[in-house]
Symmetry: C2
Subunit: 337 residues, 2 copies
DNA sequence: ATGGCTAATGCAACCGGTTGCATTAACCAT
DNA sequence: ATGGTTAATGCAACCGGTTGCATTAGCCAT
């Protein structure tokens, strides 16, 4: 078997507890013994067994990110990659491991595993699996958790981090107004989704701030595919007073809107301007390429992890955070230069 | 504190070992006591503490996926998402956790943490961090590992899973030949990358199988950006005997090639056919949309995990596996219908 | 009746650390 | 000299399971 604390103790001629204390930098140990212990650890190639340590301290030294493979839309895909990196970085800096676990409806809640079996000291969960029941249970157990997105319920009672969706819409409107677009429409998915509601709210307040009217029917819902987005845009463009700009809730929708504009024989950006949420994966590659409201998902993950650790350490913290977006200007709105 | 095995034992009036055995289904226990124990576990809401169990059994019940955030190209991005899901699914089915840890050059090898501190029972690592030293160390420790991609070194001595890149190229050539393209070029990245070498090899053997000549300079290397890919394609298209088809090593390259073809005033697919590796993220959305060699990354992850578990269980297994690709036919090669 | 066998369960050591309390020795002030 | 203090370290219990070996009781064959 591997080298243990006892082997070190025996070699140096001290007790295991002394070795433990040296290893953890706790209590006062004479620098003489310290050095001998370090030397022995080096020589025997000692590595503390984290399983033993975890049991003794009652901590798993891990946090978990719960994902929902079924929910390909909101977080699973786009956000996933870089936010995982952000979370991992924060965890690693604290010597914690990051566990990833899928919790779709088919499995017998892996969250319970993590929580009850003490496999994690805290969890980050997507809004799509948040239920009142789950939240209540976690709160009652005082088990640290952060929601990666604004939850639809009890938003003031739990920790969460989200993109500032309404600010993103405002930014888009402001930019379009500056480019002298006056008749702006919004194409997105169902407003049953929290982030959609926030984007629409920002769209409204953005229009107000720019003293622009929200025309009837200019908030259009589709199912998120390019095809239905295209249809929605075609409908709007066939009106007497058609939009001269679109804000699209994601790249696939924007792609559909571009097709619609082209079908109607209109030019982008001269006749119609387009801004899309998300700078990925298409925005750079469409024709013309797209001005985009970009979301820093690395930062999102990072902040979620920070809040989680704060909760783990302080135990009783409650925090919400919005990450501001920024605009990447590209051809699709470049009317003036 | 939480309910332990001792609480159950006391309540039922048996010894902790009996409870343990019932929990694990080991040894013969009378169905009478079994039932009483199950009832007590239910009543007290007992959940075994995995930290204790792990220490006792000497297993962490976790596998780890090492990622390399610096290596955005080969695996980190595209493959990451769905292969993680595949790995996780296999792990979850076995009651294992999946740990994700980043190992870039800046950190003091988290792999050592995982291995020496016994935080994982096995690891999956990307080729980009595989060194001879690391492999030797893992082999010597008999620590189970699988490489997620064919390694550049010692490929016969270690476990790995990879996309069948050469078969992918062959598939592409075969399809192009069937569409009566005769002068096929390949645009990819540096052949220092193992997967590139395999794709080029498949390209060559595919041409041979179709009795097509490989023209001089028709294997073109760029740095992987659309811009340099476009330049490479422009060069090839300005030759006396220009290619009538391109196989592109990824979507960004294909995008550059499309631009080049359009710049030369040629039509796709009539004058020039294009096949790209990867069905994501652009293939569906380019103009025209792209015939693609698709890689099932979920399956890739799944198989990697399967091999890892086999190694963990059988201890001494050695296995390599190639995942075949399949072709999605789209407009960019649709010359005949 | 008796020895042998098996099924059911307990005992206690063990996994490898952590930590509260006790102990010892040295030093200081009175 | 004596009591008090502090620095350095050991003892032993503990974290919550697992498991080899021992024990007991019941049953069967001789």
């Amino acid at each position: 078997m591997a080298v243990t604390i006892h082997d070190i103790a025996k070699k140096v001629g001290v007790s295991p507890s002394t070795v433990s204390r040296v290893m953890n930098g706790k209590a006062a140990i004479s620098s003489e013994t310290k050095e001998k212990i370090f030397a022995a650890m080096e020589e025997l190639n000692f590595h503390p067994n984290s399983l033993a340590r975890n049991l003794a301290t009652g901590s798993s030294q891990a946090i978990a990110l719960v994902i929902n493979a079924e929910d390909t839309k909101s977080f699973a895909n786009q956000f996933f990659n870089r936010s995982v990196f952000g979370i991992e970085q924060v965890a690693q800096a604290r010597g914690f491991n990051l566990i990833i676990t899928n919790d779709d409806s088919s499995s017998v809640s892996p969250i319970e595993q993590l929580v009850y079996a003490k496999k994690a000291d805290g969890i980050i969960i997507p809004p799509s699996i948040v239920s009142q029941k789950l939240m209540n249970r976690l709160l009652k157990l005082r088990f640290p958790f952060v929601i990666l997105g604004e939850p639809g319920i009890s938003k003031n009672e739990v920790n969460w981090v989200d993109v500032n969706n309404s600010q993103g819409s405002e930014l888009a409107v402001q930019h379009l107004a500056a480019q002298e677009y006056r008749s702006i429409a919004f194409v997105g998915e169902s407003q049953e989704l929290v982030f959609m509601r926030n984007r629409v709210a920002g769209f409204r307040s953005g229009l107000e701030a720019q003293h622009l009217a929200l025309k009837d029917g200019f908030i259009s819902e589709c199912d998120g595919t390019s095809e239905t987005a295209c249809q929605s845009a075609l409908d709007l463009l066939s009106r007497d007073h058609r939009p001269d700009a679109f804000i699209c809730s994601d790249n696939a929708i924007a792609y559909g809107v571009i097709s619609a504009v082209k079908k109607r024989g209109l030019r982008i950006p001269q006749d119609v301007g387009i801004v899309t949420f998300d700078n990925y994966p298409l925005a750079r590659y469409t024709e013309p390429n797209l001005t985009a409201v970009d979301i820093d998902t690395f930062l999102l993950g990072e902040q979620a992890a920070m809040i989680l650790f704060k909760t783990i350490e302080e135990n009783g913290n409650r925090q919400q955070m919005l990450i501001n977006t920024r605009l990447y200007e590209r051809e699709s709105t470049n009317r003036k230069n």
